[in-house]
């Protein structure tokens, strides 16, 4: 007899800590005792997220999700679910507890994710246009070409409330309308795929997994604004995404979904790829356009906005990858349907690249309005190695940190801006107690110094000045005046820099200073780095009481600066110590301490 029910028991660290192992054993025992081992299999799995509600158990093929399961529940699960085929109601996950501001029926939200942009990622073969077509691909384009006027498309976008996913959140319909209404016969559609924030890879994954969705959306944009040419600006560091895009463009041309007289409608539109050399500033739209035209990638003051004068000084609509990926869904499903997901002011979903000290790092797509707590604990499975959560960095070098106090703030454009961070393109780096906020600010500042194009003084000089100040603090030479100076320079940059890069470059330091002032003070007043990250402020010492003279640390020390005889307490010669921490990791007796 074939297996009818598969009982999956989460074997993630979180669930094992809450006795998931016992649940697994108990279920296996019950299966045998109740004589159903030929009909059911108990399987231990990887982490399912939801560690706070663990141990979790899921059954297949009926997809029942049980939470807080104890080994004592095994008898009932097997007797009821497996034998009688009805769920154990008291163990079911209560969806009404979800704080999600989502009013959609018929979809199970225990997973908390809602895949709209990533609808095809991991589902279709990205190199086969047929699979994209099978999943409603090019339905939206057909609709736009045959049933809708450009004004109706703009109206649909307006109803949807879609805002630019590149970070700033400008209403997409308005951008399209400006370009549509701008005078001129020659217009352009540009896709910004110059994803450059450290730790962000949403756009790369979207293009790699579903390149046709971008092409379809760009053709829709072309029809709407009256453009016949599209350009995708993508960084050369994304070879697979470029390859998939090239394949997709070739296939779409073969099928007549790009090129002349698309689907017999008389509409002509084609797309070409421009490779960027990987400069962060080229994510800024005017710099991107300059680079696309073969000029040096530097921003120019706006206005005029690209909608009026963009590529080759012609009206240009420019959106990022994720924004485009939403368009076919909005046209097919309708703006009203789209607006039901997320919050009234920020409808839809957001894709995040969840990285850092999180158990389940990954590419996630969640409805706007979800809380950080749900992302980190329910989806991400919590912090690695049982450490304490410290902060999340969003928005990369242009963003800031969100601390534990704000875990329950809904994530949307407005709330993040209020906290002094930004939505950004969607990088989300989780930090724990071992991460030093001065060090984090220094890292991002260093990045901005490298990436500043140098055109305007506030950015060119400001980023360098901030970095110098931060380095001095990290090296123990900070004074209270350093903090004042940082605030002064930072605020000047926010006001005076030419483009978004310079205006937002002080955000990481200003935001960490705001939420972790005590940590900055510790570096300045006590010359101490609480997280033990700033090497200049850390001292390693061996406790002679605990050291048994095993010589292990001395052998591990890369600069041979630990002295001592066998079986006698050892000593670190501080002058030569490079503070690498090898001795601390090596010592089996807890004799080495870090201060």
């Amino acid at each position: 007899m074939a297996i009818k029910t598969y009982i999956l028991v989460c074997g993630g660290t979180g669930c094992l800590a809450t006795r998931g192992g016992e649940v697994y054993e108990a279920l296996k025992k019950e299966i045998t005792e109740q004589g159903v081992q030929a009909q059911a299999q108990v399987v231990r799995t990887g982490c399912f997220g939801f560690c706070a509600k663990g141990p979790v158990v899921k059954t297949l093929p009926d997809e029942t999700f049980y939470v807080n399961v104890q080994d004592t529940d095994a008898q009932e699960i097997v007797a009821e679910h497996v034998v009688k085929g009805r769920p154990v109601k008291r163990l079911l996950y209560d969806q009404s507890q979800s704080r999600l501001n989502v009013r959609m029926e018929d979809i199970s939200f225990y997973q908390k994710q809602f895949r709209m942009v990533l609808r095809n990622c991991g589902v279709i073969d990205p190199e086969k246009i047929e699979e994209y077509i099978a999943r409603n691909g090019y339905v939206a384009l057909s609709k736009v070409l045959t049933e809708m006027t450009p004004d109706q498309v703009v109206d649909e976008l307006k109803k949807s409330g879609l805002r630019g996913r590149g970070g700033a959140g400008f209403p997409t319909w308005l951008k399209w309308k400006f370009t549509k209404d701008a005078p001129g016969d020659e217009k352009y559609v540009v896709c910004n795929a110059d994803e450059g924030d450290p730790g962000a890879y949403m756009d790369r994954s979207t293009i790699e997994g579903d390149p046709h969705s971008i092409l379809e959306a760009m053709a829709i944009a072309g029809r709407t604004v009256g453009a016949s040419k599209g350009v995708i600006y993508i960084r050369a560091e994304y070879p697979l995404a470029i390859k998939h895009l090239e394949t997709a463009i070739r296939q779409a041309r073969e099928y007549g979904l790009l090129g002349k007289d698309i689907l017999g409608s008389g509409f002509t539109f084609d797309v070409e790829i421009r490779l960027g050399a990987g400069a962060f500033v080229c994510g800024e739209e005017t710099a991107l356009l300059a680079s696309t035209m073969g000029r040096r990638g530097m921003p120019i003051p706006r206005p005029p906005f690209p909608a009026v004068s963009g590529l080759w000084q012609k009206p240009t609509v420019i959106n990022n990858v994720e924004t485009y990926a939403n368009i076919p869904v909005i046209i097919t499903g309708g703006g009203d349907w789209f607006a039901k997901v997320g919050t009234p002011k920020s409808p839809g979903t957001k894709v995040f690249a969840l990285t850092g000290k999180i158990i389940n790092s990954g590419l996630i797509e969640v409805p706007m309005g979800i809380t950080l707590r749900e992302i980190i604990y329910d989806i991400g499975g919590g912090i690695r190695d049982g450490k304490a959560f410290k902060a999340v960095q969003t928005g990369g070098p242009s963003g800031g940190v969100i601390t534990a106090d704000y875990l329950d703030v809904p994530i949307d454009y407005e709330h993040l801006a209020e906290l002094g961070s930004i939505m950004g393109s969607g990088g989300m780096i989780v930090m724990d107690e071992d991460d030093c906020m001065v060090d984090v600010a220094r890292f991002y500042q260093d990045f901005c110094v490298d990436e500043s194009c140098g055109k305007c003084a506030p950015c060119r000089i400001g980023t360098r000045t901030l970095l110098n100040l931060l380095e001095q603090i990290a090296e123990g030479q900070g004074t209270p005046e350093h903090l004042e100076k940082i605030a002064e320079v930072g605020h000047a940059m926010q006001k005076a820099a030419l483009c978004g890069l310079g205006q937002t470059a002080p955000n990481p330091v200003l935001s960490t200073m705001k939420y972790f002032e005590a940590e900055y003070r510790a570096h300045i007043d006590d010359k101490r780095c609480p997280a033990g990250k700033c090497t200049h402020l850390v001292t390693y010492e061996i406790d002679p009481e605990k050291c048994i003279g095993c010589t292990l640390c001395a052998r591990k020390c890369p600069v041979n600066t630990i002295e001592g005889e066998r079986q006698k307490p050892h000593r670190i010669i501080q002058e030569n110590c490079i503070k690498c921490g090898e001795c601390l990791r090596a010592c089996k007796f807890g004799a080495v301490s870090r201060r």
Binding site: G11, Q41, G46
Partner: protein
């Protein structure tokens, strides 16, 4: 390929959708889908293709298709592989190295039993709900 008209596109969609959905809902043959985004490839997913091919031949499983797809979103557990076998629920395996790949063929595909310690939850319901 000749250029499509609207009617052609619709017909094409119906043909492929029928095929695609039939494959998804109730598979007629064993289907292994390997996540081949940059993340998967970096974690060694390309080698898995060879492992599966060899092991399937060894096990004498003939009716099988090995498909490629993009990132499934489970970066913490790359390489990821979706396995669909007729009469069994479709599951996603993570952290699939060569050894686990062979186990998936021997245990899941041949003996129809799920493999311990590697199953991960599909991150979200399919909005096309097919």
């Amino acid at each position: 390929m000749a250029k499509l008209t609207l009617a052609d596109l619709k017909k094409l969609r119906e043909t492929y959708a029928a095929e695609f959905h039939a494959r998804k809902a109730d598979v007629h043959q064993v289907q292994i889908t390997v996540g081949l985004g940059t993340c998967g490839i970096a974690a060694g997913a390309l080698d898995l293709l060879t492992v599966f091919a060899e092991e399937l031949v060894k096990a004498g499983v003939r009716e099988v298709s090995i498909r490629h797809t993009g990132c499934m979103g489970l970066c913490h557990s790359e390489p990821t592989v979706e396995v669909a076998v007729p009469g069994m629920p479709t599951v996603i395996y993570g952290n699939v190295n060569g050894e686990t790949g062979r186990k998936i063929v021997q245990q899941h595909i041949v003996r129809k039993l799920l493999v311990n310690d590697h199953i991960f939850d599909k991150p979200a319901a399919d909005i096309l709900n097919t």
